[in-house]
């Protein structure tokens, strides 16, 4: 517990010293708040609110981001999509991290499980990310839930391998030997000493991965594995807007900018997290 608190405190200290990380965190916080507030401020019915007479209008005072090919307000669509994209990608990374950490720790601690688990991750990692996600999403059918499941399948092996490697290197460290001489039992050593030390680099990877997952999710729904035109999602907004790219470039620009800003902010946070969770840089 104490370790987590000091880590958090020194992490905050590091954050305040880095302007870029501050900018990233600020940007992400704004996006997160906007995304969280969006469903309560914008009526969900807007996605079915079709006005063909007012379609493809350029941005103006009434429609800040213009309107799309159904005549819907693009600003509202992008905001609703922020909610969906952010919560989905955070959830995907969270679930993948938990699965990966648990299985990775098992592989690291139980020699009998090591080879089978690692060969399974090999199978997953041998197929390119996008192709594997496409295959799973295609089998499961088009929906944001299925897309998320597909992405969890793609991401957990990365965490599993990372955690296994961490456990293997941590358990060979001298302090573990010292604990053995002290008479500290195996389970206590694992849960109180090895796992807390092993897990930090794994957690440090998560923020940057949220950005990667977000981009992958947008890419997948852009090529048609997304939830369809009536579910606002940044990737599918771009997909439907690209037909009008010369007539109404704002259809592509605004959702694209949203993806860009989100992944930029997450990358900045990711760089900071990598430093913050590195015990050598802690002070």
């Amino acid at each position: 517990m104490a370790a987590i608190v000091t880590t958090a405190m020194s992490a905050v200290g590091l954050l305040r010293r880095s302007k870029l990380a501050m900018a990233g965190a600020g940007m992400f916080l704004v996006l997160l708040l906007v995304g969280a507030a969006a469903p309560s401020m914008i009526s969900a019915s807007i996605v079915r609110d079709v006005h063909f007479e007012g379609k493809l209008m350029p941005p103006d005072a009434r429609h800040w981001f213009g309107t799309d090919d159904y005549g819907r307000d693009l600003f509202s669509m992008v905001l609703l999509a922020a909610n969906l994209d952010l919560s989905a990608s955070i959830a995907i990374v969270a679930v993948a991290t938990v699965i990966g950490v648990v299985l990775g720790a098992l592989a690291g601690f139980v020699p009998r499980l090591d080879q089978p688990l690692m060969r399974i991750t090999d199978i997953f990692l041998s197929v390119p990310n996008l192709v594997l996600a496409m295959a799973i999403a295609a089998v499961l059918g088009r929906s944001i839930g299925n897309l998320s499941i597909a992405l969890v399948f793609v991401w957990w092996p990365i965490y599993c391998r990372l955690m296994r490697g961490q456990v293997l290197s941590e358990r060979e460290k001298p302090y573990v030997k010292a604990l053995a001489v002290l008479g500290v039992g195996r389970w206590r050593t694992i849960f109180r000493h090895v796992i807390p030390n092993a897990i930090f680099p794994v957690i440090a990877r998560a923020p940057a991965d949220v950005g990667l997952v977000l981009i992958t999710m947008a890419a997948l729904s852009y090529i048609g594995f997304g939830p369809g035109p009536y579910v606002p999602e940044w990737g599918s907004l771009i997909a439907s807007g690209q037909a009008y790219i010369f007539q109404a470039p704002w259809l592509v620009i605004f959702p694209g900018a949203a993806i860009f800003l989100t992944s930029l902010s997450l990358n900045l946070i990711g760089d900071w997290a990598r430093d913050a969770f590195d015990p050598r840089l802690r002070s």
């Binding site: 370790a3 302090y175 030997k177 001489v181 002290l182 008479g183 039992g185 000493h193 030390n197 050598r280």
Partner: protein, 345 residues
């Protein structure tokens, strides 16, 4: 404390005929050959030898910490009469926890970077609550027991001369210097009142002034607590300062064992002599350091006969032919050299 023990008394540590092999390049190579050591209660034994002589391997075997590629092929190791070899991990844990403390070479890597100094030392009490029995630890509630443990932690940090121990107990290992970390490790070892403390090259990673402080701390603790010590080092100066007895190891065997005074006065084994001559003399007028020519033989391809004969100044024909067996020269003084075998003394 003086190392004078009654003959009938159980030795704190008894290593008998210990032979260990290492798996190197797909075959088993002898790394320790028939090692015999005895440490009596209150005694400090210095185990000296150059790198690769097997002194650290011996210590690891005693602590049951041999690496995975090592196996014991013969011998026995007894801690206060209890056999260490052939125990399960759980039994070994219990035995070690009760009777052994190990202070390692590099203190930084032997502390968990995520826990405060106090939390790490206090863990000893969580693993072995019986240590608090004297203070009535069994009758206290959880919170009060923790407080008592914390008090004892601070008290032991003070014992190893850590300034402001209450503050240091709340600090993390990386906030302390190497010398302070080594003191913490020593406090952690002492708090368990172990029968035997193994100190493996504990000052090697420290700079000279800190080394001196740590050594005088150990000498002081030995005098005040009656600590029994197995001191692994390559530094004859440390042996002279701290040890009562000394065992010189060469290429996996103990070549000479005696009390420190007689070894420094009249070492018998040519290797032990050469080692002592290699110690730089601050008041001597020699301008070059004496060294022993050659290097320790590779254990994968040891020479026949006495393993030292290729570097020995007094080599003669039996040395090439047979491994010398230890000969007793006086009370607790033995030497393994053909010069002293079969009535040649």
């Amino acid at each position: 404390m003086s190392g004078v023990a009654q003959p009938g008394e159980t030795a704190t540590l008894e290593v008998e005929g210990l032979s260990v092999e290492l798996g190197i390049g797909g075959r088993w190579v002898r790394a320790l050959n028939d090692v015999n050591l005895t440490v009596r209660p209150g005694e400090a034994l210095g185990l000296v030898g150059e790198s690769g002589s097997g002194k650290s391997l011996t210590a690891l075997a005693v602590a049951g910490l041999l690496p995975d590629n090592a196996r014991v092929v013969a011998g026995s190791i007894r801690l206060r009469g209890e056999e260490v070899l052939g125990r399960s991990e759980a039994q070994l844990n219990r035995l070690r926890g009760r009777s052994l403390a190990f202070i390692f070479q590099n203190p930084t890597s032997y502390l968990n970077p995520l826990l405060t100094i106090g939390a790490q030392i206090a863990e000893v009490f969580e693993v072995r609550p019986e240590l608090l029995l004297a203070e009535g630890g069994d009758r206290l509630g959880r919170g009060a027991r923790r407080e008592l443990a914390w008090r004892k932690v601070v008290e032991h940090l003070r014992l190893v001369h850590i300034p402001d121990p209450a503050r240091v107990a709340r600090q993390y290992p990386f906030e302390l210097s190497g010398g302070m970390q080594q003191r913490v490790v020593i406090a952690m070892a002492l708090i368990r009142r172990p029968s035997l403390v193994i100190a493996d090259e504990i000052t090697t990673a420290l700079d000279v002034t800190v080394q001196a402080q740590i050594l005088s701390l150990l000498a002081e603790l030995r005098a005040s607590l009656g600590m029994t010590l197995l001191l692994i080092t390559h530094d004859m100066g440390i042996v002279a300062q701290l040890a009562d007895r000394v065992a010189v190891m060469y290429s996996g065997s103990v070549v000479e064992a005696s009390d420190v005074m007689s070894l420094f006065a009249e070492a018998r084994h040519p290797y032990a002599r050469a080692l002592l001559e290699a110690v730089p003399q601050i008041d001597g007028d020699a301008t070059t350091l004496r060294a022993i020519p050659g290097g320790i033989p590779a254990i994968t391809n040891p020479p026949p006969g006495c393993r030292f004969h290729l570097r020995c100044a007094r080599v003669f024909e039996p040395c090439v032919l047979a491994v010398p067996t230890p000969v007793t020269l006086g009370e607790r003084h033995s030497v393994a050299c053909h010069l002293y075998g079969e009535g040649r003394v």
